[in-house]
């Protein structure tokens, strides 16, 4: 267990270092591409924190991403609100957490687990997207809201303005690193251990005095809050918000990022998000309707060939070579 922790921290440090030196070799456009991918990586990590630790799959996680995005857009676009960026982020996180807490309360305390939870969250995602399209007086309907200003705020007398590529990249990279590290320390500590116990046998965990529904609810709410944060960051960087951001396709893409990167590793999903988005851009440039088709194939392939994600290839090869050597 301790070597596993050390390995994780080592890989984490390497990733942070790579992210740190990347601006020296990349131009402005490449920086923004990686920055946006990192935001989606944060989103993937938020899903992994819930799915990886509890084993319960949320099929509408983009709803929280979208809720965060829309709240951020509405707050920053309203000139009457001072400290728009800061209040927007707080509002986005709180809004996503609030919705998750309400839905989670009814589901977890109602004894809804497993597939039932997946279905209800799937419907939640469908409805969020429909609401974003049809409530056009607030959300701008199909075309969404445009002209969202970049994040700017004062901290300790210095003015932080993230309209340039490099500062925004550093800001996002720092937030992603801090949040991923925080989620990892939560999930490897006592909290995560209890969650694993609940996943293995909820009745036994409850008999040992753990309030399982409450633990699940808090984990789900935290996960949604981080998804909301990712949504808020994304709309400020992209400058627009659209119904797709809360849609079913994004909800399923984030599942693929987590599944490919390796469920329960927190770092894997971030890397999965970055690499799969890269692939998506390349494939979509040939034919836009090809991507969902390939996405479908990836789902089927993951289930049958790589149930533990891309990173498991390494472990499999290692065991393969070991058994070869033993045979000789």
């Amino acid at each position: 267990m301790i070597t596993r922790d050390r390995n994780w921290l080592l890989i984490f440090a390497v990733c942070v270092a790579l992210a740190g030196v990347y601006p020296l070799f990349a131009d402005g456009h490449q920086l923004t591409v990686i920055r946006d991918a990192l935001i989606f990586g944060l989103f993937a990590a938020s899903l992994d924190f819930f799915w990886g630790r509890t084993g319960i799959l949320c099929f509408g996680h983009a709803a929280f991403f979208g809720i965060g995005g829309y709240i951020m857009a509405l707050v920053t676009l309203n000139d009457a609100i001072p400290f728009g960026s800061l209040l927007g982020i707080i509002g986005a996180v709180a809004g996503a957490a609030f919705v998750a807490a309400i839905i989670g309360y009814f589901l977890f305390f109602g004894g809804i687990r497993g597939s039932y939870f997946t279905i209800v969250t799937l419907a939640m995602g469908v409805i969020c997207q429909q609401a974003a399209v049809s409530w056009s007086s607030v959300t701008g309907g199909d075309s969404g809201l445009i002209g969202i200003p970049p994040i700017e705020f004062d901290v300790g007398g210095t003015h932080v303005d993230l309209s340039q590529d490099l500062p925004s990249y550093i800001f996002v990279a720092a937030i992603v690193s801090v949040v991923v590290l925080a989620l990892w320390s939560i999930s490897r500590g006592r909290w995560g251990t209890v969650l694993t116990a609940i996943q293995d046998n909820e009745i036994r965990a409850a008999a040992l005095g753990h309030n399982a529904p409450l633990r699940l609810l808090v984990t789900f709410t935290l996960s949604a809050a981080i998804a909301g944060l990712a949504g808020a960051l994304y709309v400020c960087m992209a400058g627009l918000v659209a119904p797709d951001l809360s849609g079913l396709l994004l909800s399923t893409e984030v599942i693929v990022w987590v599944a490919v990167g390796g469920r329960g590793t927190l770092l894997g999903p971030v890397l999965g998000a970055i690499f799969i988005q890269r692939a998506q851009q390349t494939i979509s440039s040939f034919n836009p309707s090809l991507w969902p088709l390939l996405l479908g194939c990836v789902f089927v392939i993951i289930v049958f060939v790589l149930p533990d994600g891309i990173l498991s290839i390494y472990a499999r090869l290692k065991s393969l070579f070991k058994s070869r050597r033993r045979a000789q």
């Binding site: 597939s115 209800v120 599944a259 090809l290 479908g296 789902f299 089927v300 289930v303």
Partner: protein, 305 residues
């Protein structure tokens, strides 16, 4: 929420009749249309999700395939009725392939089933789009015009739809309660190991039951095709609603299926008049979540589990 309700105005209510009665009957018939469709789509899900414990997210695509089968037959010059006969066959073929290629290997891995069937759903949607092209596909109903009921006039096709749905449901009830295959299914549901012990081939029973559910969903797609917008992506709406039918109604009985359909379909139809369809959908979802919180085993199954 497809199918679109038929408003009293579009049904050409004559001024001599009392408006309130007209409105009531029309709303009731609209609700009945939706409930019939939901029952047929939910039946397959009640089999796979409720009884076999398989979360099949490609179930909505059986509806889509059924609707496209009607469109395809009509576009080749065939009649609607020929298309309606082809719809359940198309659903059954897709369902059978899905069961054989994917689902039977994943009975012990629920989350993997969710992911794999969602992948299949995306593949089918894009496959249909690549084959038939973008845009909504026109499907003409076999009978135009309306039928004069005493208190209101109502589109004749919708009445036929309700009739066919009811007959199908009756047929399913008879199949399950009267035939030897129905007996096999009930045995496997009650106790899989024991069923194997008395010599029932449970794998085969599962496969046939799954294919059967897919065929009924395909029939529902064919029936709804003239009323709905036929698109490769149309399945997801039916998927979400049908799951709620099964969750709210509880699994294991036809009564639960009917109760769930009446709850979801009735509420949706009534709300559709007052507010926008998306908001109506959201309220139905919330009501369903609250209903599940209050009666975890379904509306119909009091304390049977």
């Amino acid at each position: 929420m497809p199918p679109k309700p038929c408003s009293p105005a579009c049904a050409n209510a004559s001024p001599a009749r009392p408006d309130a009665m007209d409105f009531l009957i029309t709303t009731l018939l609209n609700a009945l249309t939706l409930i019939s469709i939901l029952m047929l789509v939910g039946l397959g899900l009640a089999i796979s999700f409720g009884l076999m414990n398989v979360t099949n997210l490609a179930h909505g695509e059986f509806v889509t395939v059924g609707a496209f089968a009607v469109y395809f037959v009509q576009s080749m010059g065939g009649s609607f009725w020929l298309g309606l006969a082809a719809a359940p066959i198309a659903g059954a073929v897709v369902g059978c392939i899905l069961e054989f290629a994917i689902i039977r290997h994943l009975y012990s891995r629920p989350v993997s089933t969710v992911l794999a069937t969602w992948g299949v759903s995306l593949i089918l949607q894009q496959g249909l789009e690549l084959t038939f092209g973008l845009g909504a596909k026109p499907v003409t109903p076999p009978i135009e015009g309306t039928l004069d009921l005493i208190f209101t006039v109502y589109p004749a096709y919708r009445l036929i739809l309700i009739g066919i749905a009811m007959l199908t449901l009756l047929g399913v009830i008879l199949l399950i309660s009267r035939t030897s295959f129905g007996l096999d299914i009930r045995t496997v549901i009650q106790n899989r190991e024991m069923a194997e012990g008395v010599g029932i081939n449970t794998r085969r029973t599962y496969a046939i039951a799954f294919t059967f559910g897919a065929a009924i969903a395909g029939l529902a797609g064919g029936l709804v095709a003239p009323l709905a917008i036929v698109l490769p992506q149309m399945g997801v709406n039916y998927l979400a609603n049908a799951f709620f039918v099964v969750i709210v109604g509880g699994v294991g009985s036809i009564g639960g299926l009917v109760a769930g359909s009446v709850f979801v379909g009735g509420l949706t139809s009534i709300l559709n008049y007052q507010i926008s369809p998306s908001l109506a959908q959201a309220i139905v979802l919330l009501a369903a979540i609250v209903a599940v919180r209050l009666r975890p085993n379904g509306l119909f199954n009091g304390a049977s589990r």
